[in-house]
């Protein structure tokens, strides 16, 4: 079923103090979908959101809402509502009045306000909290009030600016499920900004991966994970070994001193390429039985699997396997054609995908908010 585009950005550029924040961005967002802008802080995702909300006007390019150009339309006249990173609830109003705010501004009749507010509070599981002061609520409850305050206006598009970043891990997971449910129930287009790839993968219909003010890839979570377009996306979404290779011809690629059968086509003859191997797609076999051999330099028990760092021809691979292996063992590696993904070289080639300086702390280091 083809849906109409509710938001379109055409050739949008923004710079602050001579620094380019968004670089000729083109983007279409389908009505009724859950879209996530994913990227590190400073990649331009929040700026894009603020342009859609109307808090920021692009230096160049056009913004379309339902095919109408809205560059000059101020935020209060857009059928778009935002959930702010730190909620921005009105401290002088109680829960009910916070949620009723937008309807009061629009001078809706009293009965209508009462009905809509209670319906929306029910949707976010906050019945009975009407009279509570918002300053006395927990982070998760404040989050729900913020969602209700935006949703009660029935916007065409709901913008969510890293709304879960202030919550603890358990609450985050619950709210992810909750937001997804609310999006399905209301059918409102959600545009969600996050730097958390796991969050993006589990919630979205479409992920827009951004870096350096440019869109790196747009696709479904499965596409983004399985068919990353370049080394940046491959590295940013999940764990990836990114290895230099030569695409001999269609379905044949050479890397790590071995020629593999793959399922990638459409490259030039003997084109230098980046090859992505996901750690969980590597089959570990006894030494001598594999296509290539490697030496385990680090083995970490992770509970449901072992994480190995394997040296293959001077390059360190990450391998995940359910069998027990120890440091110093030599192993064989088998790769199915399906587990090999070939990408064109890009500006990010060589920057990512090598595990020679890998440590767990690096991976889990918290990222500062934008």
């Amino acid at each position: 079923m083809e849906k109409k585009n509710i938001i379109e950005l055409k050739d949008v550029s923004v710079s602050f103090d001579g620094e380019t924040i968004l670089d000729h961005l083109n983007l279409s967002i389908q009505d009724g979908t859950f879209v996530t802008f994913l990227g590190r802080s400073g990649c331009g995702k929040t700026t894009t959101l603020r342009i859609i909300a109307g808090f920021l006007q692009p230096d160049e390019g056009d913004v379309f809402f339902d095919s109408k150009r809205i560059n000059e339309v101020p935020p209060h006249k857009r059928s778009v509502n935002t959930i702010f990173q730190r909620y921005a609830l009105f401290p002088h109003l109680n829960v009910y009045e916070n949620v009723a705010f937008g309807l009061r501004v629009k001078k809706a009749p009293k009965e209508e306000i009462a009905a809509k507010v209670s319906e929306t509070l029910k949707l976010v599981n906050l019945e009975g909290y009407e009279k509570r002061k918002v300053t006395n609520l927990s982070g998760g409850q404040q989050q729900r009030v913020a969602i209700a305050r935006a949703l009660v206006n029935r916007p065409s598009v709901l913008l969510l600016d890293e709304p879960l970043s202030a919550l603890d891990a358990k609450l985050r997971k619950d709210m992810q499920v909750e937001l997804r449910r609310i999006q399905r129930e209301t059918g409102i287009t959600f545009i969600f900004v996050t730097h958390d790839q796991e969050e993006a993968l589990s919630m979205s219909d479409t992920i827009v991966v951004m870096n350096d003010g440019k869109i790196q890839q747009i696709g479904t979570p499965v596409d983004i994970y399985n068919e990353p377009k370049n080394a940046f996306v491959a590295d940013f979404i999940g764990e990836s070994n990114i290895i230099d290779g030569i695409m001999n011809k269609d379905d044949t690629v050479t890397f790590a001193g071995h020629t593999f059968v793959c399922v990638d086509e459409g490259f030039a003859h003997d084109e230098p390429v980046d090859v992505v191997i996901r750690p969980e797609d590597v089959d570990v076999v006894p030494a001598g039985e594999g296509m290539i051999t490697g030496l385990i330099t680090q083995a970490t028990f992770k509970g449901d699997y072992y994480e190995l760092i394997v040296e293959v021809k001077g390059f360190k691979w990450m391998v995940q396997t359910t069998d027990a292996y120890a440091e110093g063992q030599t192993i064989g590696i088998v790769l199915d054609p399906d587990s090999i993904h070939v990408m064109h070289k890009s500006e990010y080639s060589g920057l990512y995908g090598d595990y020679s300086s890998f440590s767990d702390e690096e991976e889990t280091a918290p990222e500062a908010g934008e």
Binding site: P74, P75, N81, F84, P91
Partner: protein, 289 residues
């Protein structure tokens, strides 16, 4: 309804005194006893004693003669407070939109007059506004008629506004500048135009500052004495002038002065009580009581 558990400094929330806290409080308590509580009792004592030291209510009942002076004081100070609010509120709002450095400069200009003593400021004002003052000289020089700028009600109220305006601006600015800008964005996002944002978000959130400002202007205005004596006409006598007069110029009439002071104190306390009804006891709106 449950109250906030985190109480900002300076609210009326009562806490159980701990031994450490009472030691830290001791200097102030001593100060308060010596210079606030005991003098207060002395004022009450004088207000209800005659020249021979006997109890009397005559001082109080005699104040009926001064009703018009009291009402005038009330009326002048209310007018001055209202004008200060009308000037200060938009000013503070605009300053909050400035860049941080410009905000500092604007604040400095507001506070500069406070570096100069009130008596001198008022005296300077009279030399400007006198019938032969600089303004009238300039007007005469330009061939326009002289204006009766001094020795009337307008001059007294102007003098009070001039002297007390910073006390209105600063608390309002302080509260207003701490309003989270994302709240205004949220308001805009929820459909408010600029005017609605002020009415629905800025005004309620800056109310504590407005209340503080009103108190800080109204209290010195209602008890002012120098400004009205210097800038007003013969009919602009205010309660502060009256008290000053009873103390020294005339016959050292302390009992009447004490009775007047007591009434003034009650007026101030009542007005502060009323004002504090308008704010929750959070956010520091009641910091002066």
């Amino acid at each position: 309804m449950k109250k906030n558990t985190t109480v900002p400094v300076g609210t009326r929330r009562k806490k159980l005194p701990t031994p450490g806290a009472s030691i830290l409080n001791a200097p102030y308590l001593l100060w308060a006893a010596l210079f606030i509580i005991i003098p207060l009792f002395i004022v009450v004592y004088y207000a209800f004693t005659d020249a021979n030291g006997n109890f009397t209510t005559e001082n109080m009942s005699g104040l009926a003669d001064y009703t018009s002076v009291m009402l005038r004081s009330l009326w002048y100070s209310l007018a001055a407070t209202a004008i200060c609010l009308l000037i200060a509120y938009p000013f503070a709002y605009v300053v909050c939109k400035f860049r941080p450095t410009s905000q500092k400069v604007a604040n400095m200009f507001v506070t500069i007059p406070l570096w100069i003593n009130l008596l001198i400021r008022t005296y300077c004002l009279t030399t400007l506004m006198d019938n032969n003052g600089l303004i009238n000289q300039a007007l005469a020089f330009l061939g326009m008629g002289r204006l009766p700028l001094m020795n009337n009600t307008g001059a007294v109220i102007f003098g009070m506004v001039y002297n007390y305006l910073p006390y209105m601006i600063l608390p309002i600015y302080n509260v207003m500048s701490r309003i989270d800008p994302s709240l205004l964005e949220a308001g805009e996002d929820l459909g408010c135009n600029a005017l609605q944002r002020v009415r629905r978000i800025v005004m309620p959130l800056s109310l504590p500052g407005v209340i503080s400002g009103i108190i800080m202007v109204f209290v010195p205005s209602v008890s002012t004495f120098y400004i009205s004596a210097k800038m007003g006409g013969t009919g602009d006598y205010m309660i502060g002038d009256l008290i000053e007069n009873q103390i020294h110029a005339q016959n050292n009439n302390l009992p009447t002065a004490a009775a007047l002071s007591l009434v003034l104190m009650v007026v101030i306390l009542v007005s502060m009580f009323i004002l504090n009804r308008f704010t929750d006891d959070e956010e520091g709106g009641s910091m002066l009581v």
